[in-house]
Subunit: 416 residues, 4 copies
């Protein structure tokens, strides 16, 4: 018998409500908190869908899953409650207090669906770890993935979901040297059996695929990006995409850099300084965690400018008082005609979580739609959402967005 997953024919009995499961890893983090209350606001109609590109044409014509059809669940490793996260976001002027109030039942139901997650070794100590997560993390990788997959399966069945999309939105993990076990699915399974697979993000991706779910990696962590897991996804005909949501400073970079190239203005230096105070900032202030993040931010720039030698710098500093308000200053030094030296500098002030949450909703709706069309493997048209798109390609945001629009046009065209 063939599973309920994307490439399969519609279930024998038509689902009355066509419910979609969104399983959040990092379920009590800031992004998830914004998403949970925001989705409530969208469902009850009190919140405008600002920040969701799928709310605009031509996306609006696709017949994407309705907000009311999305059911939330997830994994987390902390004991901190969702209302604690919400309180902080209200204080920071990000989450409206009345939304938190009106969404309290919705949030409670969500909390009831959460399951203890697993955690990468170097990350223990950062969080107020849930003892159940500590316990799970201490088990063998094989046991961990089985438990994680089981949680997702139970979610699907209990909530009678047509499909599940797992969104990985946990904290940044420490950088790791490449491991041969990542190269082939085969070797990956062997390594799992030997208890030698890490970090945790790989386990989450594997578990999602085991559970027949699509996987979206919104972080710079490895997730489903290693060849072994790409192979697994293809084998299971499951869709996935990532890495690292393009929400703020990098978004602006990939919008501006192509302009310098098009005008043949020579960028001499591009210095970027990010300051932020949320848990992400705290984790990134630790150098092994910062390494992968900075890499994604730098690479885009060099390829867009077509100059491997261009002087670039990306700093990330933890400034607790800023909380979720990421502030970034970029100084772009460039040369024009006659060798005249000029500059463009910008300061970006945005709530990282409020920028990320609607992109997650966009991705979930689009990935769900694609899965319904039988698409699987790395979804290359999701590129405009990511700093390091799984399928590579240009980092030029406008080109990426053109690509997305063309893909959508393809969906809209009547099939012959």
């Amino acid at each position: 018998m063939k599973p309920a997953h994307p490439s399969a024919p519609a279930p024998a009995t038509p689902s009355a409500d066509r419910r979609l499961g969104l399983w959040l890893v990092g379920a009590r983090g800031s992004i998830s908190t914004c998403l949970v209350y925001g989705l409530h606001g969208l469902r009850e109609g009190s919140l405008a869908p600002t920040g969701l590109c799928t709310a605009r044409g031509p996306f609006a014509d696709l017949g994407l899953r309705e907000f009311s059809q999305i059911v939330l669940g997830g994994h987390d490793v902390c004991t901190r409650s969702l209302s604690e996260s919400a309180r902080e976001l209200v204080e920071n002027g990000i989450l409206p207090a009345d939304l938190v109030e009106s969404g309290s039942h919705w949030a409670a139901a969500y909390e009831a669906r959460l399951r203890p997650g697993t955690l990468d070794g170097p990350d223990v100590g950062f969080a107020d770890l849930d003892p159940r997560s500590a316990q799970l993390s201490a088990r063998s990788p094989r046991e961990q993935v089985q438990q994680l997959a089981l949680d997702i399966e139970e979610f699907r069945q209990r909530e009678r979901l047509e499909r599940v999309v797992v969104v990985y939105a946990a904290s940044t993990e420490a950088w790791r040297a490449p491991d041969p076990a990542w190269e082939e699915w085969n070797r990956f399974e062997t390594a799992l059996d030997k208890g030698a697979v890490q970090p945790a993000s790989l386990l989450y991706a594997y578990a999602a695929f085991q559970a027949g779910a699509a996987f979206v990696n919104f972080t710079p962590n490895l997730g489903s990006s290693v060849p072994a897991l790409r192979e697994l996804a293809r084998h299971k005909r499951l869709a996935h995409c990532g890495n690292d949501g393009k929400t703020g400073e990098t978004l602006i970079k990939t919008v501006l850099a192509p302009m310098f190239a098009a005008r043949n203005l020579k960028v001499l230096a591009w210095q970027g300084y990010n300051i932020l105070g949320n848990r992400d900032g705290q984790v990134l202030s630790e150098s092994t965690h910062r390494a992968s993040k900075v890499r994604n931010k730098n690479e885009a720039l060099r390829s867009l400018l077509g100059d491997e030698q261009v002087h670039t710098h990306v700093g990330i500093d933890y400034v607790p008082s800023l909380q979720d308000w990421k502030t970034a200053w970029d100084y772009i030094h460039f040369e024009g005609f006659l060798g005249a030296k000029m500059s463009l500098q910008f300061t970006w002030t945005g709530s990282d979580s409020a920028l990320a949450a609607p992109l997650v909703l966009d991705l979930v709706r689009l990935v769900d739609h694609a899965a319904g069309k039988g698409e699987f493997g790395e979804l290359n048209w999701t590129a405009p959402f990511f700093k390091a798109p799984l399928a590579g390609g240009s980092h030029d945001f406008h080109l990426q967005f053109q690509g997305l629009l063309e893909h959508v046009q393809g969906w809209l065209k009547p099939q012959v």
Copy 2:
């Protein structure tokens, strides 16, 4: 049979060097000064073609006119010498001193080819007016256009040029209420006969077309944009484009605004403040002159954001000490998911003239190439170069540039 060049007879003997004439209106202004010395540097190979998009692929494959094939001439209304303009630009750190030195002969030859221009009534008083220009401006519009056209014709013949492109780069004129004489070529001729055509930019465009030259309007002035002159251009099968070179703040706006739209982030306010100290700044500090400029800058924004009600502001203030270094501060207030208010602000510091000059060279080479291919009328693919493209279309810089690239691909494709 289709002529290589629409309005002039094909040369009897094939020109050994295929020389192209570039006739600059505003021939001693900052843009022209940068262009004259810059072209010298490009010809002698001492200057890199930074800022010229035609120096990069795929443009480089088109076989555009070589820098060594371009001959310069022009109109100006001031007595101020080119070396005076150059000295100022050297002092401002824009023009390298050694380029001025090595290019002194080249510049002197150019000066010898300049002819007195004509001036719009409200502009008299701004400049150290050349008495010959005062005299010309006092004659009837019909006599003015005849003289201007004659100057261009003589330039073409004396220099044995295959084609002439007139680039209008004079100061911003005062805004004028629309005149019925602008609506039809017919009425325009009648008005010319009655001595009732103004402002001067219309006369320059008319004269260019009379002389069989292509016309590029790099300013916000009317130039060839009125229906009467569009009709004339089509009739004469001459190419033209404009208006208002997109060099700095507006360029950035048309790069950033589409990103806000694509992400469905709601722009609440876009405030832009420009400060500059060159003659352009001085003229624009006068409110009737500022009117047309500001209109071009505002309109792009509203159409790109798809929000006619968005709160926008464009200020232009004259700050003499800045000289040619235009500095602009833009503050973009926007709303994201959950109604969270965020901001992006940027400060642009660029030499307006050093940014404009290479675009003029790009346009001249591309317009020349198009004319050689038999194109005429408004060249819509020149849109990425202008704040208010004659042929309309999207203001999205990246879309405009894509359009240009596609047009170039068309040229490159082998003709069957």
Copy 3:
């Protein structure tokens, strides 16, 4: 015999609680709203006295009036309730929601003490005018001042106050040409009798003095600054100070400009652009209202730099979405050694009302203390609080603050 309090007879029985009345003109405006709820927070100890310089040494040693001893009342012309103002400030992330909740009784008691104020002619139409204010404004100036003074007198008696300080914090009035009636108290009385005194701020100051109250003008309006009212204050031995609270951009200017002078760095241009969205911004977007404000901002700069010719500009633009968050960009172009041109630019983002409210509390406590010491007339040591200090003197903030500290030292010295 010198009374402890210049205009009112010393109370027969020593007041057990030494209550001070603070009468706010513009009682439901943003500044007053911040002050009312903030004072509640200070009284109940839930709010730290951040932003109050009198909370720090040496001011803390003066034995200034306790927060618990201050009773609030005031005049306003609008029907808009205090809770409406509060709701907006909560939404803007300025006023904490829990403070509004816990202070509801305190606020209601305050509202009960408010009386309809009067309004300057050109301002009618800006606000949702209270019909009782419209009625009062229509009466003769003499009747208006009598009513205003009566309101203050009743406040004093009903609340058994030792002293009343009137703080004028209404909206900016339209600029007016000087009137001979302003020159002498004598003539002022005659003009009052003739019904020919305006604008309203003069009436408020006159009424305060009539009621034996000290007067603090926190706005750029005329208030008590005209010679006639200075004369009246001296005659009545009442203290007063103003004009125009120095809260944000101008504060920074008067801190930075002396540095350029001390280092002999030549300021070439100082361009300042203010954008804001509160009622103050709306009123100032109207040019006759903006005139006085801009004058105060410009004058300080020229005198501090010792250069009457320095190029300066102060822009104020209304950007509704910013609400109370005033954002200012200043660009300072300066020349150093060897003629090298450099720049300093800053962006200030502050809540105007939250910056102003604690200064009002500081001033009330200090003016009260000075009055208790028998000081009267213009209090020159209040200079660091104002853009246009009544008693003139240097605009250098640090010098002004030194002067204030020295005055405080004088108070602290044991009297012999």
Copy 4:
């Protein structure tokens, strides 16, 4: 009888022109280059004394040494010529080309007076080292100081100078752990004999004192700041001051921070990012060299804000294309009344060398004057010129400058 100059015998025959020697360590560096050509411009009257505070009253009334009375010499370790340094500064738009041309003889005479200097071990490799400097650096510390002092002595005698002021303006040295030999003059001599004194800046200060010269340390290096050398200076009755010229970002910090304290606004975080491309930037990009610099920049802030816990950060990054144009972005996050969070951010763009050179001239003239008045030891009134004043005291620039003005008033008062 009181000698006009504390440590050297009065010249046998009164010097007709009262010549002052200025001995520059780092004689071909950017600061010295600006100073050499700038002094030439001041002498010939072609350059305005912008940036020199001693050019303004009350300093102008002191009768300080005339520019024409100053003779230049110095030590350097590089082979790079002064004209090479000058060429770079001309290209960067800092040094005017005509000044370099007109000052060529003056500069050549200066070059003829330069002597090979010594270098700290960890710095070898950064520069194009003069072989004679390599040789000198290889000798024992005792021999090094003897040679350095001899060079200064010969300069004094050959040029028949009334006094010599040594200004130490070499590159930043690597940070070193404190050494007991620094604690007492006694121990310092012993260590010199044992060949165990480093870094080089200590040797230069010692040599200056040996040669009877005053010493100004414009760098963050140790120089004369260690107790042993303070003791030596007092013993020899020689004046000295330092450390670390307060030219740019730190200057602004020490101007702004007192304002936040005075207003009782709570600074939550002060993040500073410096980017620069000159040799100073290159050296500071190496972490051991950056350590001392950053310390000076941070300490001032904490003491001014009176908050040891305030979150601060100072970054310094090397951006070659900026050359001498130091650009700094500071983001100041602060809390006002009601807990409202606000921000001030500034971008400073200045030529470090053009800012430093006039301060060096100011210091030399003032130290010379003080020495003439018999002052010796650490000159505490030089505080406004330094990031880490030798005599400590407040970092508040305005307070420091008040102190300097008062000292000057003391000099101007008629002696009784």
